[in-house]
């Protein structure tokens, strides 16, 4: 057994240097030089201020912005750090709801959200993504159907014809590549940015 200790320790330490340090630093170096935008999180800046990442959803609550999917992320309760409070789209603590399909909590939450969206949009059935939390709690996308369900509210809040809003959704809808890869989707942050641009011009 003792004959194995030297190879074990030496191999471990050398690999710590080679793989634990040199390998990630090498990848970092190449990435930062060749692909700085992606390597730093695909951040979006406006007027020199970081608005967020194109990849990470944000918690939109006001009527004039498209809302993302419900998010189940949380944050430590500032009053009692053994507890947590709901903090949707907390990009420092990704998480899903982890509620099973026959969970009463899930059904109550979905019922509330679905009823609200039905009331707002006048739809009889709501798109699934509009009332379900994403896996990461940071899903940047919604389905075009969910976006369209919100078009009326946006148009009203922004005093825009609903067609313009719908046109914007259609414009920003990302399609299934080659009919195979991905899903019809709209990036909420990009959509809202375009909405702001539309309104300001």
């Amino acid at each position: 057994m003792f004959t194995h200790i030297r190879p074990a320790v030496v191999t471990l330490l050398l690999f710590t240097v080679l793989i634990g340090i040199i390998y990630p630093l090498a990848v970092t170096g190449v990435a930062q030089l060749a692909l700085p935008k992606q390597a730093n999180g695909s951040m979006i800046e406006r007027d020199g201020k970081v608005l967020g990442s194109a990849l990470i959803g944000q918690n939109f609550v006001t009527d004039k912005y498209f809302h993302g999917r419900p998010s189940a992320t949380s944050a430590p309760d500032p009053k009692d750090d053994t507890k947590t409070i709901d903090a949707p789209y907390n990009a420092a603590n990704s998480s899903g709801s982890n509620l099973g399909p026959i969970s009463k909590k899930l059904l109550e939450r979905v019922k509330g959200d679905a009823d609200a969206l039905k009331g707002e949009s006048g739809l009889a059935t709501v798109p699934a993504d509009s009332v379900t939390t994403s896996a990461s709690g940071l899903d940047p996308h919604i389905s075009p159907a969910f976006a369209k369900a919100q078009a009326g509210r946006i148009a009203k809040a922004r005093n825009l014809p609903e067609d313009r809003v719908r046109g914007l959704i259609a414009e920003l809808t990302e399609h299934v590549a080659f009919g195979l890869v991905g899903e019809e989707r709209v990036n909420v942050l990009l959509l809202n940015l375009a909405l702001d641009r539309l309104t300001s011009t």
Partner: protein, 569 residues
């Protein structure tokens, strides 16, 4: 389900197969110590390593010495990682200033990474510094994967050799696999991930001001370099809590394809390596077929169950057209989410791009069952190969008698000693999974950790111990596993699932290597071809199914019928 979904599933499998064969043959050459195109670059590093470590790569080891070397190495790795975790506060590259990790969590996490489980009882972005992610976790993603492949190579040699007392040299195998196979692949895949949007920076977090003026802190770091080996080494321990569902780990549908491809490719390459090393490629193909058929069946069931949606939500006015979306990301689509779910559990990867705890009952049954089948479809890198070889030995033994000969696999007679050791290995999983779950199921302190009531709560426990013992690492998350009870018992389950399993397997290898290879004839039980594939699949499913059916009946199966009946908990 859609035809397009199935076409894409088929294309991904095809893309894996196309690359798996050359990688497998290359790995066989590397493990044989042959010269490769990378030798001019990596050869000096390899030689230097041997020199400093005092290793003679040509010196062969018996199964005992090989296993002992592996155990000492894993123990050293465990101690070093435990120390790094505990001392995190005093180590560099800690931009967010995280403190030391608690003892029980450090114990659990160290075991988790050394055993290639990568169960996360912690949230990466809220617990671990960049130094720990790199020098601790990324390192062990490599080393635990390389250890698995080394062990698989040793077991393979037992079948390739005749009347041999030795199985190779652990240090040489470990070093060669790490340098020549895992490192180059990881470099390539890491840069592909960056191209697709996975961050790679030493910055800890970026503060953003959202459109609505709120502050959003975005955790970030050297994600791509870890993501590559996390998938290639079937480790599955994510940089972030949400793992491969997090947009920084898995930014879009293309990255998702690359993730599935990367996690399959090395494990799928190993049966080719096996065929190459034993000098009969068809033997490797047969194993891969058995693995593949079960995996495809798993993908199909998840895909079917998830696209049907949740009838309880449909009743509330939710459109079932896009299926069950709770705990899923929009960008991947149901087909590639289903494929990810089945593949990550058929492999012992454990990375997730959807929250398994929110899958439908049958959609959740599949990953659970795939883990319980022993992580052999195609299983963890290395561990999947030696795991399915144990199943092949059992299959040959049960059915091989039906041709009227003492059972033999690849010319090696399977006798009482091998049977004893194989049963010993096979007993470990049900003992750890069912034993711990049964205790936790009636332990109030354990039940306090559950996220869901009703059968799903039991499934959370069953899944946790299955994942730990199977060295998978995925979870029916939501179960608060960061408690002393779970950290300890899950740690023990991981330990048993990896080492208590592999030691008897290595003993089988030692015993088989020493046997003279029996020449094949038309009277020999055929271990290639559709009949054997069917038989192997049957033994895997029936043996696995028989052990876990009662437990599954009380978890996902009854939950399915409850859901159809409109009941909720």
């Amino acid at each position: 389900m859609s035809l397009n979904g199935w076409v894409l599933i088929a294309l991904v499998f095809l893309a894996v197969l196309v690359v798996a064969r050359p990688i497998g043959i290359y790995a066989a050459r590397v493990l044989n110590g042959e010269r490769t195109p990378l030798t001019p670059v990596l050869g000096p590093i390899e030689t230097g390593l041997y020199c400093l470590a005092g290793v003679d790569p040509a010196r062969e080891q018996t199964w005992r010495a090989y296993t002992l070397a592996m155990l000492v190495f894993s123990a050293a790795g465990f101690l070093l990682l435990y120390a790094i975790l505990r001392l995190q506060a005093f180590l560099p590259l800690n931009p967010q200033g995280f403190g030391g990790v608690a003892p029980d969590l450090a114990f659990n996490t160290s075991l988790s990474f050394v055993t290639n489980t990568n169960w996360q009882a912690y949230g990466g972005e809220t617990t671990m510094s960049h130094f720990v992610q790199m020098a601790g976790l990324t390192l062990h993603n490599f080393l635990s994967a390389a250890t698995g492949i080394a062990l698989a190579a040793a077991v393979t040699r037992a079948f390739a050799r005749s009347g041999s007392g030795t199985l190779g040299n652990f240090w040489a195998d470990l070093t060669r696999v790490t340098l020549y196979v895992l490192l180059p692949l990881s470099l390539i895949v890491a840069l592909m991930f960056v191209t697709l949007g996975v961050p790679q920076t030493l910055v800890g977090a970026i503060d953003a001001t959202t459109l609505e003026g709120a502050k959003q802190t975005l955790s970030i770091g050297p994600v791509a370099s870890q993501e590559a080996i996390k998938m290639l080494g079937t480790n599955g321990g994510g940089f972030f809590n949400a793992n491969s569902a997090h947009p920084f780990e898995n930014p879009d549908a293309w990255a998702n394809l690359l993730q599935i491809w990367a996690m399959l490719v090395v494990s799928a390459a190993l049966p080719f390596m096996f065929g190459e090393m034993v000098g009969n490629e068809r033997q490797g193909h047969t194993l891969l077929w058995a693995m593949g058929l079960l995996l495809i069946a798993g993908v199909g069931i998840v895909y079917w169950a998830e696209t049907r949606g949740n009838p309880l939500l449909t009743a509330l006015g939710v459109d079932p057209a896009s299926g069950n979306m709770e705990g899923k990301e929009v960008r991947f689509g149901q087909a590639m989410t289903a494929m990810f779910v089945a593949v990550t559990t058929g492999l012992s990867c454990g990375a997730v791009n959807a929250m398994h705890n929110s899958l439908t009952p049958l959609g959740g049954l599949v990953p659970l069952f795939l883990i319980q089948l022993g992580e052999i479809l195609p299983g963890g890198v290395g561990s999947g190969l030696y795991g399915i070889l144990v199943m092949a030995i059992l299959t040959v033994f049960i059915a091989g008698l039906m041709v009227g000969r003492t059972p033999e696999y690849l010319g090696k007679k399977i006798e009482a000693r091998e049977m004893k050791l194989a049963m010993l290995a096979v007993l470990i999983l049900p003992l750890a999974i069912l034993g711990f779950t049964a205790v936790a199921a009636v332990l109030p302190s354990a039940l306090a950790s559950l996220a869901n009531a009703g059968p799903r709560g039991l499934t959370e426990l069953l899944y946790a111990y299955s994942s730990a013992a199977g060295n998978n690492g995925s979870a029916f998350a939501g179960l608060n596993a960061n408690t002393p009870w779970f950290n300890t018992t899950l740690g023990i389950a991981m330990l048993l699932g990896r080492f208590a399993y592999v030691v008897p397997v290595m003993a089988i290898a030692g015993s088989l290597a020493a046997k003279t290879k029996v020449a094949p004839s038309t009277g020999t039980f055929p271990t290639t071809g559709p009949l054997f594939i069917g038989l192997l699949v049957g033994v895997i499913v029936i043996l696995g199914g028989l052990q876990y059916f009662p437990a599954l009946a009380l978890g996902p199966i009854v939950e399915h019928f409850l859901m159809l009946d409109g009941k909720s908990f």
